[in-house]
Amino acid sequence: MPLKTLAKFEVPYLQILNEHGKVDGRLMPKLSDKDVLYLYETMVYGRLLDKTCLSLQREGRMYTYPSSEGQEAAQAGSAFALKPEDWMFPYFREICSHIVRGLPPEKYLLYWMGDERGQQIPENINNFMICVPVATQLPHAVGMAYALKYQKKKSAVLVYLGDGATSKGDFHEAMNLAGVWNLPVVFLCNNNQYAISTTLDKQTASKTLAQKAIAYGLSGIQVDGNDAFAVYKATLDAVNSARSGGGPTFIEAFTYRLGDHTTADDASKYRSAKEVEEWRKKDPITRLQKYLEEKKLWTQAYQKKLEEGIQKKINDIVKAAEGIEPQPVESIFNFTYSEMDWNLKEQLNSIK
């Protein structure tokens, strides 16, 4: 008997806004000028706040910090597709997503300044905490999606991961669970092509990460991760589908980490300056600016005013983060359990 083909698969790719700032009008999602300006301003804000974190770290006012530079479109574009009642599960490189979701920015700074209150998410914001052990957040998002579905809530979960995370068992188990249980969860993979020094070809023998979705029965798509419109559209379609029972989606946002992995890393040890320069030309913010300029929504005067406003805001944020009253020593005990046992009380007394 000749071989039969049982199934055939395709891996779609979406780009709407190219690096020259030109859009493919047929693919363009519905976004008002105000929306586009919001996306742009958030990305500029995110980049400047990120820069501030880097200089705070250099000055010893912050600890190890992972820069988001270059990945702003993937972050802002995806978070913008969520409704407040949806949930967002970050990993650790999503400055713009946190901004879009309304996390008070001084909280973001506080976390990297080594203060637990940075992870205390305000009650009205459906964000989970930053997650450092790679890929371990993925099954949690799946469980949250199950809880939403079980409670008949019409909302979805967006969970972020990096390319490195796709190598961990947690990733495969989470994807499989999401597929089997047909859950309203969207995996947004920031494929910045590096996991610290590990390049994509050492991470996987797959041609794309998007195709990993297929094996688990999920929809998978690769988008230009430096194109805020493509990321937004793919995420919007995915969360809409998730909310209406269409199941999970895996989105690979193909992008590039322009900075070091963290402030503890020196990327020049494993990649060339030339490669980084090539990717600077594809900067997600520059191309959106070109687009806005073409639409007469951007001028140098506007940019100057925007940056001045942001800088002022950032100064206040840094002041708020650094000016916060210290936590009392009890705070390192109080949240271990709902109540302290004799042992914790004894230990607390011993160091007070």
């Binding site: 300044m113 490195g164 961990k168 936590q327």
Partner: protein
């Protein structure tokens, strides 16, 4: 003789062991091109090539699980967990397999692998980067657990671990990586697994520690009125009970110091053993100065968590005045 940091001494041991035995290979995240996030494996890729120095995908279970297969298959993997906090999923493979392959196969198979783990805190690191998981490993029959606290021992113990015929967990105190330098012979030597060392002799109190806490004990001993003996265990499993017992029977007072949380920490094991072996010599209860039974605080408040020379000094006084 070269004057080396702990990092350089480990690196030298790896270079020499790989030169000495072609079966030795290194695997882990960022260990090749990058030379390791702490530069411990720097230069190995250039010397020995990508077949022996493997930049793995980000997959802790895969790293340790494949190392088990490699060890059974006749080569000698030295695997790296990038940080203490990420060694936790490896416990599944270690507990269920590495530790019991010799026993399950009645000796037909063995699993001589080494797992290197940068450990411990007090260095203002990110979440999950300041853990002291030694007890998890010590609790597993079939694993050996060693912790160097000096560059000399780091080299000698790693060579011994690599040449051992059983799985060895090799814990590297991050805080000491670049904190102390000492002369380390460049030639072949080992520090035997299972042998503690008396770092300072004394007659009133025995301080027992390993890893970064040895330095804190030495500091406390230096400033104490009482005469303190400081034992650096170096091997937690197997444990050098003779050195401990000899010291306890001399001083009659013991303080155990470790960074891990107090409850079920290795100090509890030592305390139990000491009263079993030397009950009649004790002049005061065995005291523990340890990490707290809480989640290690983020950098701003982490200093509350860790044992320090001050906390040890207080314990010395209390023990003497018991």
């Amino acid at each position: 003789m070269a004057t080396l940091t702990l990092v350089q001494a480990i690196n030298l041991a790896l270079r020499l062991e790989m030169k000495r035995d072609k079966k030795v290979i290194v695997l882990g995240e960022d260990v090749g091109v990058d030379g390791g996030v702490f530069r411990v494996t720097e230069g190995l890729l250039k010397l020995y090539g990508p077949e022996r120095v493997i930049d793995t995908p980000l997959a802790e279970t895969g790293i340790i699980g494949s190392a088990i297969g490699m060890a059974v298959g006749g080569i000698k993997p030295v695997a790296e967990a990038q940080f203490d906090g990420f060694s936790i999923p490896m416990i599944d493979q270690l507990y269920s397999h590495a530790a019991r392959i010799r026993n399950r196969s009645r000796g037909r198979f063995t699993c001589p692998l080494v797992l290197r783990i940068p450990c411990g805190g007090g260095i203002r690191a990110l979440e999950h980067h300041s853990e002291s998981p030694e007890t998890f490993f010590c609790h597993i029959p079939g694993l050996k657990v060693v912790v160097p606290s000096t560059p000399y021992d780091a080299k000698g113990l790693l060579s011994a671990a690599i040449r051992d015929s059983d799985p060895v967990i090799y814990l590297e105190p991050k805080k000491l990586y670049r904190a102390i330098k000492e002369e380390v012979p460049e030639n072949d030597f080992t520090v035997p697994i299972g042998k503690a060392i008396v770092r300072r002799e004394g007659t009133d109190v025995t301080l027992i520690a390993w890893g970064a806490m040895v330095q804190e004990c030495l500091k406390a001993a230096e400033g104490a009125k009482a005469s303190c003996e400081v034992i650096d265990l170096r091997s937690l499993k197997p444990l050098d009970i003779e050195t401990i017992t000899a010291s306890v029977q001399k001083t009659g007072r013991v303080i155990v110091v470790h960074e891990a949380p107090k409850t079920c920490g290795f100090g509890a094991e030592l305390s139990a053993l000491i009263q079993e072996k030397s009950f009649l010599s004790l002049k005061a209860p065995v005291t523990r100065v340890t990490g707290l039974d809480i989640i290690i605080p983020l950098p701003k408040l982490e200093h509350y968590y860790f044992p320090s020379a001050d906390k040890i000094a207080k314990a010395i006084e209390n023990t003497i005045n018991y």
